[in-house]
């Protein structure tokens, strides 16, 4: 799960995202916002997982499963950039 990069989005600290391509608006919870912030900084997914474990009270298995599902949601909403060839 290391190829995902996030599209260029408008993002604020309260957890709102605006996708200028589609005009869609999204809300994130704290953990979701944390992940998006990491992805926006260009942190690779493997490292995002490590950061989650460092900052939140969560075990490896749960974080991994949740992150996978979350990335799938981002993909479904069209928020991931095409992975560079």
């Amino acid at each position: 799960m290391d190829m995902e990069t996030i599209k260029d989005l408008y993002f604020n600290d309260k957890g709102f995202i605006f996708d200028p391509d589609s005009g869609a608006i999204f809300s994130l919870n704290t953990t979701g916002a944390f992940i998006i912030k990491q992805l926006q900084k260009g942190v690779p997914v493997k490292r995002v997982l490590a950061e989650m474990k460092k900052d939140f009270d969560v075990d490896e298995g749960t974080a991994q499963r949740d992150l996978r599902e979350f990335l799938d949601m981002l993909a479904a909403f069209g928020l991931l950039a095409k992975a560079p060839a």
């Binding site: 704290t30 953990t31 944390f34 989650m52 460092k54 009270d57 749960t62 974080a63 979350f70």
Partner: protein, 457 residues
């Protein structure tokens, strides 16, 4: 040297939801954002830990208070009333016993239900026997025990007349009347009022040497949200009673049936239950003064046969998340260990669904997701609800589906899964009132011919 440990933040499952016009994505006013962690003093987690999931939970205090408020509303407005609980709604013995302790009579629609009432110690003269199928031997027993029998058809009238001849005594009977009130047009039970059949049936009973007309019965529909329809029904039923009184007939009872709405919300209902469901006072205000104004003294006994309004809110179903998945449509699916096998009323109702645990419920930065709730049956029709707003959930999370006491347990199926236990919660105490079904229990009545058990050579 003291090492300062990095304090890790509270973790909730990451979530992202898309905003669409006209919906509240943020916590907003959605009740489902708030967890339902305790049932009458007992933590939901503890119930699941002790009895497993899924699990039916009955709240004794809710059941008692529902009965009391209904009885109070009608008895304050009419001099002689009785509330006969409609057994079909939920004939768990524990549930019926609580209502009988409160003073409820029994309304049954089969010999089977009649036997449950008898087993629970309800005297025959506190049982109303309704319904299209009453077998001759069941009628004979009901008559000899003094039950109120409401005739559904001329065929049944003839059977009762024969029984009366055999018994060599007069048999009191009621006549079930159907009618049109507003959009309600149930005309298959009993005799129609508008076309004159109901009066004819009454006259037929009056002409019988062995039958005695003692009551009129109507049950015009179910989940009736408009008390005005009860006023119309009372006017029509009262009109017939008045006509009979003028002929010199003194009725012992008028039975206005059930149909009173519970605090649930139909799928196509615009207003949620908390605004739309009338109070018992509103129903009683529609029925009681109408009858009092029309009928001569002494007034007959007024009978009600509530089902859902008494028991729906007294029961919830605990169920656990089996898996979550992203559907090809982009929607989220949540698979539960309880489906339409246990919740057939999902077809009519948008049941209130709450998360049982605090964990994962939106804190300040939380969001609600829209998910489809699916049951465990390997069947496409097994849907509890589409587009339910819930905090992000994962496998193992326990949900509380509220107000499921009516028509779910009695109509639940042993389809693919045996049925789970039912527990009764009362003042912080928990008692099991129905053990979980087992494979052995479900196969008990089956017989396999020996020849089917030998393997082909």
């Amino acid at each position: 040297m003291v090492k300062v440990r990095h304090q890790r933040a509270f973790y909730e499952k990451p979530a992202i939801v898309k905003h669409s016009v006209g919906t509240n994505n943020r916590l907003g006013r959605l009740a489902s954002a708030f967890p339902h962690t305790v049932i009458d003093g007992v933590p939901v987690d503890e119930l699941v830990h002790r009895y497993g999931s899924p699990l039916w939970v009955v709240s004794e205090i809710t059941l008692r208070s529902k009965y009391q408020s209904m009885y109070r509303a009608f008895s304050l407005r009419y001099p002689r009333v009785a509330v006969a609980y409609s057994y079909k709604t939920n004939y768990l013995s524990g549930v019926c016993s609580i209502l009988h302790q409160e003073g409820a009579w029994a309304e049954v629609v089969s010999g089977f239900e009649y036997e449950i009432a008898l087993a629970l110690g309800v005297p025959g003269d506190k049982i109303i026997f309704n319904g299209p199928l009453k077998r001759p031997e069941e009628l004979a027993r009901a008559i000899s025990q003094g039950a109120m029998v409401n005739l559904d058809s001329y065929d049944e009238l003839a059977v009762v007349e024969q029984l009366a001849e055999k018994m060599g005594r007069a048999v009191p009977v009621g006549v079930r009347v159907n009618m049109t009130v507003g959009p309600l047009t149930w005309d298959r039970f009993g005799f129609n009022l508008e076309n004159g059949q109901a009066l004819q049936a009454c006259q037929r009973v009056l002409a019988s040497p062995t039958l005695k007309l003692v009551g009129l019965h109507a049950h015009v529909g179910t989940f009736i949200l408009d008390p005005g329809l009860y006023r119309q029904m009372a006017e029509k039923l009262g009109g017939l009673a008045r006509y009979l009184a003028d002929l010199g007939v003194t009725l012992e009872y008028l039975d206005v049936g059930g149909g009173f709405a519970s605090h649930n919300t139909l799928h196509d209902q615009w207003m949620p239950a908390e605004y739309a469901t009338p109070s018992f006072e509103q129903y009683a205000d529609a029925i009681c003064p109408t009858l009092i104004n029309m009928l001569p003294q002494p007034l007959p006994l007024l009978l009600m046969e509530p089902g859902r309004a008494l028991v729906d809110e007294s029961m919830c179903l605990l169920t656990s998340v089996v898996s979550t998945k992203l559907l090809s449509s982009g929607q989220k699916g949540v698979v539960l260990d309880a489906g339409i096998n246990l919740l057939p009323t999902s077809v009519w109702y948008r049941h209130e669904v709450r998360l049982a645990g605090e964990t994962g419920t939106p804190t300040d930065g939380g969001v609600m997701e829209e998910v489809n709730l699916y049951g465990p049956l390997c069947m496409n029709i097994d849907v509890i609800q589409f587009r339910t707003a819930l905090p992000p959930v994962r496998r193992g999370a326990v949900l509380v589906i509220k107000n499921v006491g009516a028509y779910n347990f009695t109509q639940s199926m042993q389809f693919i899964q045996p049925r789970p236990a039912v527990v009764l919660v009362n003042g912080g105490e928990v008692e099991c009132i129905r053990a979980p079904e087992t494979t052995a229990y479900l196969r008990e009545l089956e017989r396999i011919p020996q020849r089917l058990l030998t393997k082909p050579a």
